[in-house]
C-alpha cells in the first residue's frame, strides 16, 4: 500500500531486510531476537503472570493458543516450562493470578490462568504428540535422589540435555507429594501417571522402592557419588513439624503418643500408600496450609460429621487459594481463627479428649510473608475432639546422608550459587533446600538446578534467555472480551462428594467456557508501539482508546537495571515529544491501530525464549 511504500522510503532507508521471509508478495514476518535489558525488562514488567511464575511459563502464549483452538500447542507451551501441565492445572498455588493485570483495581477479576492450563491438557486431541528437542548424548551420568516434582523436573531437563539420568525413589511409584500427599479428589492419578511418564521417558531410569540411606538394605549416598558424574538430592520435606505445646513442655511428642491424634502429613501418606484410615465424629484439624485443608476434607469423606480447622491468624492470611477455602466451607468445614494450641486434654486411658487454645491477636509480618499471631494471656479455652490432626508444617530429613555435607543453622543443607553442596558433584534442589514450598516452586527450582548442573558437567553455559520479538499483522483482541466475567470452575454437588471418596471436586471448564475465559486474557505479551518518526500527533488513537492507555509524553524514566520506568506525561503541546502507548493501561484492543492516519502503530509479540549459545 502507498503509505507503506512511503514508509520504506522516508522512514527506514537503513532497514535490514535480510531476515524477512517472503510468502508470495507479502512479507510474512521479520523476527528480532534481543538481549537488550529494556526489551527483557519490558516482558518482565508487562507480563506480570510470567514474571511471577517460578517456572517462567509463557502464559499469554498458551492462553492465546486456546483462543485459536490449538489446545495441543497450548499444552506444549506449558510443558516446555512446567513439565506437568495437567497436574499443575489442578493443584498449582497460582502465584500468577494475584498479579494478573485483569485483576488490577478497576479491571475486574484476574484470568483463571490455572484452570486454562487444565483445559489445554484435557481438551487436546487424543492423538496429541509431545515434542522434545533433544541434545546429543553426552555420556555423562546423573543420579537423582527423590522422584518428587523437583526431581522429575530436573531429570526431564537433564535427559533432554543429553545426560543419562537415574531417579532413586523410596516409594513404590514416582511422584512424591503429588502422589502421596494430595488427595485424589483434588488430583486424579491418571493424569499424574501420564505426565510423570512423559517427563521421564527420554532415557530416565526410575528405580522405585530404593531408599538411599545408611541402614542395610539401603543404598549409601557415597556409592552413588562414586558411580555417577553428579548426584542431585531432591528429597523434599517429608517429615511433619512437631506440635509445640506451651503448657506441656514434655520432651516426648504427645501427638505421636495419643491413639486418636496424628500428624496430617503421615495421615495423608498412609492413606495414599493404601492404608485404611478412620476418624471419629468430631475432628479438629490444627494448621493453615493445603495439608490441613486436605486432612479436613478427607476426614469429612471418611464420615466425620463435625470437622473444624483451627488457625493461628485468620483466613485472610493463610497461604491457600480462596476456592479451596470456599469448597471446604461448602463441605461444612468451619475455619476458626486467632487461636494457638497450648495443651492437650488427655483422659485416664491416655486418649485425647480436647485441645486447649489461647486466643491470639494479630502481630506484625514475618520475613516469610506470614502473619504473626500474639497470644493473649488468660484467654485460654478448650475445643473437644474425637480425632486430632496436626498439620502445622513440614521439614527436611537429612540423616540419610553418609558423606559430610555442610548444613546451615536450621540444619538445612547449604548450597552455593551453582546449587552444588560442599561436596563436589553433589547438588541439591527443591523443598529439600528451601523448606516446604509449592509444587511449581519445586519444579522451577528443579529446572534451574538442572541447567546449572549441566553447565558444571559440560564446563560451560549452554543456554541463555532472549526476547523473541515478532511483528503481529493485526490486533488479535477485541475490547468486548474485557466484559466477559471470570468463568467459575464447576464443582461436584456437595452431596455427591462424600459417597465416593475420589470424586474430583473441580470438574474442569468445557471448551466453550475455556474459550470465554481465554478471551479475557489481555495477552500482555503484545506490545503496541508508536513510530514517533511517522506520528503527526493527531491524537486519533487517544480519541478511540477505551482507557487512559495512550499518552502525550515528555519522556520516560529509566530504572537502575536499564528497564523502563514511569512515563512522564504532559498536557503542553510544546512538551509533547511523543505519543506513546502506556503498556500498563493497554488492554491490547487494537482500536488505535485501526485509526492511525499514518499507520505508525505497530504490534509485536514479545516472548522470553531459551536459546543455545
Amino acid at each position: 500500500m502507498g503509505n507503506e511504500r512511503v514508509r520504506r522510503e522516508y522512514l527506514s532507508e537503513d532497514q535490514d531486510l535480510s531476515q524477512q521471509q517472503y510468502f508470495g508478495e507479502r512479507i510474512v514476518t521479520t523476527v528480532r531476537f534481543s538481549t537488550d535489558p529494556r526489551d527483557i525488562g519490558w516482558v518482565r514488567e508487562n507480563v506480570p503472570c510470567q514474571a511471577a511464575c517460578p517456572a517462567d511459563t509463557n502464559i499469554p502464549g498458551y492462553i492465546r493458543t486456546i483462543v485459536e483452538g490449538r489446545y495441543g500447542r497450548s499444552y506444549e507451551l506449558n510443558r516446555i516450562a512446567n513439565i506437568l501441565p495437567g497436574v499443575l492445572g489442578r493443584i498449582c498455588s497460582r502465584p500468577c493470578e494475584p498479579v494478573c493485570r485483569h485483576g488490577w483495581p478497576g479491571n475486574g477479576k484476574p484470568v483463571s490462568i490455572c484452570h486454562l492450563k487444565r483445559s489445554a491438557a484435557t481438551l487436546k486431541t487424543e492423538s496429541h504428540r509431545i515434542s522434545e528437542h533433544l541434545y546429543t548424548p553426552t555420556s555423562r551420568r546423573v543420579a537423582i535422589v527423590g522422584g518428587g516434582p523437583a526431581g522429575i523436573a530436573a531429570a526431564h531437563d537433564l535427559s533432554i540435555l543429553g545426560h543419562s539420568v537415574t531417579i532413586y525413589e523410596r516409594e513404590a511409584r514416582a511422584g512424591g507429594m503429588l502422589r502421596y500427599g494430595i488427595p485424589r479428589f483434588r488430583l486424579p492419578r491418571g493424569m499424574l501417571d501420564i505426565e510423570v511418564q512423559n517427563a521421564t521417558r527420554m532415557g530416565v531410569t526410575v528405580q522405585t522402592g530404593v531408599t538411599i540411606g545408611t541402614n542395610e538394605d539401603e543404598v549409601p549416598l557415597s556409592d552413588l557419588l562414586n558411580q555417577f558424574d553428579a548426584v542431585l538430592l531432591a528429597t523434599g520435606c517429608m517429615a511433619a513439624m512437631p506440635l509445640p505445646l506451651r503448657d506441656q513442655n514434655t520432651d516426648q511428642d504427645l501427638v505421636a503418643q495419643l491413639p486418636n491424634a496424628e500428624y496430617g502429613l503421615d495421615f495423608l501418606l498412609d492413606l495414599h500408600r493404601g492404608k485404611t484410615k478412620t476418624v471419629g465424629q468430631r475432628v479438629a484439624v490444627v494448621g493453615a496450609g493445603f495439608t490441613a485443608l486436605d486432612c479436613a476434607r478427607v476426614a469429612r469423606r471418611l464420615g466425620a460429621e463435625a470437622v473444624s480447622i483451627h488457625i493461628r491468624t485468620s483466613e485472610n492470611y493463610i497461604p491457600v487459594m480462596d476456592e479451596e477455602i470456599l469448597e471446604a466451607k461448602r463441605e461444612g468445614i468451619p475455619i476458626r481463627g486467632l487461636r494457638t494450641p497450648v495443651a492437650l486434654q488427655i483422659d485416664d486411658n491416655g486418649v485425647g479428649t480436647g485441645i486447649c487454645f489461647v486466643q491470639n491477636r494479630l502481630g506484625g509480618w514475618r520475613a516469610s510473608g506470614r502473619r504473626e499471631a500474639i497470644p493473649i494471656p488468660g484467654s485460654e479455652f478448650t475445643e473437644p475432639f474425637d480425632t486430632l490432626l496436626v498439620a502445622i508444617g513440614q521439614r527436611t530429613v537429612n540423616d540419610y546422608l553418609d558423606v559430610p555435607v555442610e548444613l546451615d543453622r536450621w540444619s538445612n543443607i547449604r548450597i552455593g550459587e551453582d546449587d552444588m553442596t560442599s561436596v563436589k558433584g553433589l547438588f541439591a534442589t527443591g523443598d529439600f533446600v528451601s523448606g516446604a514450598s509449592t509444587v511449581i516452586e519445586a519444579i522451577g527450582h528443579g529446572r534451574e538446578t538442572a541447567v546449572k548442573l549441566d553447565s558444571w558437567l559440560m564446563g560451560r553455559v549452554r543456554q541463555h534467555k532472549v526476547v523473541r520479538i515478532e511483528p503481529v499483522d493485526k490486533p488479535v483482541r477485541e475490547r468486548q472480551f474485557d466484559f466477559i466475567e471470570r468463568q467459575n470452575m464447576p464443582t461436584a454437588a456437595v452431596a455427591d462428594r462424600f459417597g465416593r471418596m475420589n470424586t474430583e471436586v473441580e470438574q474442569g471448564l468445557d471448551a466453550d467456557h475455556s474459550l470465554a475465559e481465554a478471551k479475557r486474557c489481555y495477552l500482555c505479551y503484545l506490545k503496541y508501539e508508536i513510530d514517533v518518526d511517522n506520528c503527526i500527533y493527531c491524537r486519533a488513537c487517544i480519541e478511540v482508546a477505551p482507557r487512559d492507555c495512550i499518552k502525550l509524553v515528555k519522556g520516560v524514566a529509566i530504572n537502575d537495571d536499564g528497564t523502563y520506568g514511569e512515563l512522564d506525561e504532559t498536557g503542553v503541546w510544546r512538551d509533547a515529544a511523543a505519543i506513546w502507548v502506556d503498556n500498563d493501561e493497554c488492554i491490547r484492543c487494537g482500536a488505535c491501530y485501526k485509526v492511525c492516519p499514518t499507520r505508525c502503530i505497530s504490534i509485536t509479540k514479545n516472548e522470553i525464549i531459551t536459546q543455545d549459545i
Binding site: 518518526d533 486519533a540 511523543a578 492516519p597
Partner: protein, 292 residues
C-alpha cells in the same frame, strides 16, 4: 507489516527535543478533530521552519475562516487570524510592509476557492513572496460538512442531498495558469513528504502554492478518507521536469491518481522586487534630471 528497527522511547524523545522542532509549537493543544490532516501540516510546517532555522519572530502565519482559522494559534510564531477568504490580501500587506518576514498564508479549499477565490489569481500574478498552504479536504468542516469547490461530483452532503453535480475545480491547473511560480502537491498521510515540500516552498523566492490533500475525518467518512487517498496518491514520475510548465499542467490533469511532489518552479520578479525596481527607476529618473 513492515519490520521496524527497535525504537527506544528515551532515545527517540531526546532526538526530537534536541532537534528543536517542538519550539515552533504553542502551549495549547490543537483543537482539530483527532486524526485531522491539519496536524500533519502543523508538524510539517514546524519541521520545515526548524530545518531552515527560520527565526520564530520573523515568521508570520496568516489564516482566514474555516478549520484553518485557528492554525496560527497552534504555532509559536507571529500569526494573524483574518476574515473568511481574506487571508491572502492581508498576507500581501504584511509582506509588502516588511520583506524580511517569512509569511505563510494557510486556508482551506472553501476559504481559498469559494469566498476567497477572487484573491488567488492576483496574489499569484503579482508573485508576492509568500507561501500559501491550501488544505484541501473537499468539504466545509466548520459549517459541518457541506460541499466545497473541490468536492467530487456525486458527493452527498446536507446541501447536496441528491449528490453534488458541480464539477470540482482543478486547483493545480488554476494556479499553474494563474502564473504561480512554485506549485506543489502533498498529502497529509505522507507526513515526511509533506514536511519536505513545505521546506522547499518556504525556500522558494516568490509565490509558492502548496496544495495539501487531506480527508475530513469528521464529515467525510466515505469519499476522501485516508484509506482511499492512500490507495489513490502516487509520487510524481522520477523523470518529471519541474521547469516545464506544459509538463506540469499535463501532470496536473491527473486527478484520479494525484501525483505528489513539486510540479513547477520558476524564478521571476516578485512584487517586492518589482516595487524595488519602480523605486530604482524613479530614483534614476530624478538623477538624470539633475544632470541635465
Amino acid at each position: 507489516m513492515i519490520p521496524q528497527q527497535p525504537v527506544y522511547l528515551e532515545d527517540k524523545v531526546d532526538e526530537i527535543r534536541q532537534s528543536g522542532r517542538l519550539d515552533y509549537r504553542s502551549q495549547a493543544l490543537p483543537t482539530w478533530c483527532p486524526g485531522c490532516g491539519y496536524y500533519s501540516v502543523t508538524e510539517g510546517l514546524a519541521n520545515a521552519l526548524n530545518d531552515l532555522q527560520a527565526p520564530k519572530e520573523n515568521t508570520v502565519v496568516v489564516s482566514g475562516i474555516g478549520c484553518a482559522s485557528r492554525f496560527p494559534f497552534f504555532m509559536d510564531t507571529y500569526g494573524f487570524h483574518t476574515l473568511h477568504g481574506r487571508a491572502l490580501p492581508v498576507a500581501t500587506g504584511i509582506k509588502v510592509a516588511n520583506e524580511k518576514l517569512t509569511v505563510v498564508a494557510i486556508g482551506g479549499d472553501g476559504d481559498g476557492f469559494a469566498i476567497g477565490g477572487g484573491h488567488i489569481p492576483h496574489t499569484a500574478r503579482r508573485n508576492v513572496d509568500i507561501t500559501y498552504i491550501l488544505f484541501d479536504n473537499g468539504i466545509y468542516g466548520l459549517t459541518k460538512g457541506q460541499v466545497s469547490p473541490t468536492s467530487a461530483i456525486g458527493f452527498t452532503t446536507p446541501t447536496s442531498p441528491f449528490a453534488n453535480r458541480d464539477a470540482p475545480l482543478n486547483p493545480l491547473l488554476m494556479l499553474l495558469s494563474y502564473g504561480a511560480s512554485w506549485v506543489g502537491q502533498a498529502y497529509a498521510g505522507w507526513s515526511h513528504h509533506l514536511a519536505d515540500l513545505i521546506r522547499q516552498a518556504l525556500e522558494h523566492r516568490g509565490f509558492s502554492y502548496l496544495h495539501v490533500l487531506s480527508p475530513c475525518v469528521t464529515f467525510d467518512k466515505t469519499d476522501r478518507t485516508y484509506q482511499n487517498l492512500d490507495l489513490a496518491v502516487r509520487e510524481l514520475d522520477t523523470d518529471h521536469d519541474s521547469s516545464d510548465l506544459a509538463l506540469a499542467m499535463q501532470a496536473a490533469t491527473d486527478t484520479s491518481t494525484p501525483a505528489l511532489g513539486l510540479y513547477y518552479t520558476s524564478q521571476r520578479e516578485t512584487l517586492g522586487q518589482a516595487l524595488d525596481q519602480v523605486a530604482l527607476r524613479a530614483g534614476a529618473a530624478a538623477e538624470s534630471a539633475s544632470l541635465g
